[in-house]
């Protein structure tokens, strides 16, 4: 049986973003559609990637980018808002364990990420002929990637004391990692140096594995991407649970 305290907190986290769905779901979908319109207009006639038309290549990348960014945004902004307004105390006073706390925030962030991802997908699918070689890979990488970013968001939200610290993390870490991960190109088109550097970017594997689910082709084997993603997730989950257990920045 799943503890009802966990369900309540997860439910609260989902309600929180659902109540402001215009900002938390509609806005990121619109942004993704704009990217698609601009880049496909500029490049569709000129570029093919991995033997696929550019627009079709781009769509899964945009979907995954939306999933990742929104999963991060959900857990990080919820935690920091609660810390700054002080209402995190109500969760801290409850008998919820640190594991329940962790999973409630992460599951809610995954749900937000997937909602936005599905929205981007439905809004962009009309622009190209997509194939769906192996839907299981699509789902696996969507959930895995969202979980990774949700954990990272939790760490960021707990660590940051002010909104600008969080914004700095978002602008100087999350944005570069997602933009330079092969959303807009195949890393095989990069010079060797940048290609090697990209292999150190965990987001690259999430996007590449996700895209494999659609086309059955990718820069690296999906098994390697899976291993890399699981590795990163394990490290992050361990770190976050450890922070929560010690009450880092939450319990004085």
């Amino acid at each position: 049986m799943i503890a009802s305290g966990f369900i309540a907190l997860c439910n609260k986290e989902v309600l929180r973003f659902a109540k402001v769905g215009f900002q938390t779901i509609a806005a990121p979908i619109l942004t993704a559609v704009l990217y698609l319109l601009i880049f496909s207009h500029a490049l569709e006639a000129k570029v093919r990637v991995l033997g696929i038309g550019y627009t079709a290549f781009l769509i899964p990348g945009l979907v995954m980018m939306a999933v990742l960014q929104n999963a991060f945004a959900n857990s990080s902004s919820s935690i920091i808002q609660s810390k700054i307004t002080g209402n995190i105390v109500f969760v801290l006073l409850s008998p919820l364990s640190h594991t329940e706390f962790f999973f409630a925030y992460v599951v809610a962030a995954i749900i937000r990420g997937i909602c936005v991802g599905v929205g981007v997908f439905l809004a962009t699918i009309w622009f190209a002929n997509l194939s769906f070689e192996s839907p299981w890979w699509i789902l696996t990488f969507a959930v895995l990637g969202a979980a990774i970013m949700a954990s990272l968001g939790l760490i960021a939200g707990i660590w940051a004391e002010k909104f600008d610290q969080l914004a700095a993390l978002q602008n100087f870490l999350i944005m570069p990692l997602t933009f330079l991960s092969g959303v807009f190109y195949s890393i095989h088109s990069l010079p060797d140096f940048w290609q090697n550097l990209s292999r150190w970017n965990p987001v690259f594997y999430m996007i590449d594995g996700f895209r494999f689910g659609f086309f059955g082709v990718s820069d690296v084997s999906p098994w390697i991407s899976l291993a890399a993603s699981l590795g990163v997730l394990t490290v992050l989950v361990t770190a976050t649970l450890n922070m929560l257990r010690r009450g880092y920045k939450l319990r004085a």
Binding site: G5, L15, R16, T85, G86, N87, V89, L93, S94
Partner: protein
Amino acid sequence: MKDIAVSIEKVSKRYGQTIALDSVDLTVRPGEILGLLGPNGAGKTTLISAMAGLVRTDAGAITIMGHDVQRNYRQARRALGVVPQELAFDPFFTVRETLRLQSGYFGAVNNDDWIDHVLVSLDLVAKANSNMRTLSGGMKRRVLVAQALVHRPPVIVLDEPTAGVDVELRQSLWRFIRELNRDGHTIILTTHYLDEAQALCDRIAILRAGRLVALDTTSNLLETCSGYLLRILLEGDIPAPYANLLVVSGGWREIELKSFKELELILSAMREGGTRIVDIEINKLDLEAVFLRIMQKESGI
């Protein structure tokens, strides 16, 4: 264990150089109302936070209804309802949603009947579906109290529940606290209003600079100070013994009297000495006098 609601043993807490709690020992009995008093920064909120597990102590142990707040934190927190000092709220939700969610965190599903009861008791029914943001400060304070009660905890801690609250709400909160107490809840309450502590509390604990400096029944504490405080404004020379006995305080002179007979002695001495009495004030000594005396004694050490 049966006759202890909260046990606090040798609890210490430092924040950097600040010693917020210095080996505090305190036992709260089931069914009592304990007043936790002390000046700003004395450590009241820190002690409450330690009970609630919001703060990790450096030394000592705390149990709530026999459950250690660190090792058995789930049971300990289920037994405890805390009304925080700061007015925190979640702007995304209405009053009812707030209370439902809070019930959920404690695993209390289908709690609507009890929530309705609490809403009625705290006069919040009309605001049940209002967003938390739209509530006045006093209303938000009531919701804080309601949130602390959703899981029906046997021990309730209120950290300055009546700070910045109007007379009417204060009265109704007092009534409500007494009611909870009559229903068997153990209550710990901090306040800066000593008349409030005197009116509500069975026992009083006084903290100063992180140390427990007094702990006794309210009536015993008051007895140590039974009598009257005479304040008198004089003109001219003061007759011999009284020049020293009357302590100067802001232009006025003060003395504590055991009985009215002593007052007569003073007045006749003034008359005979030709000292003019410009103004006079007599007050029954209250908890405030006890409090001030304890604070003065402690700062003298």
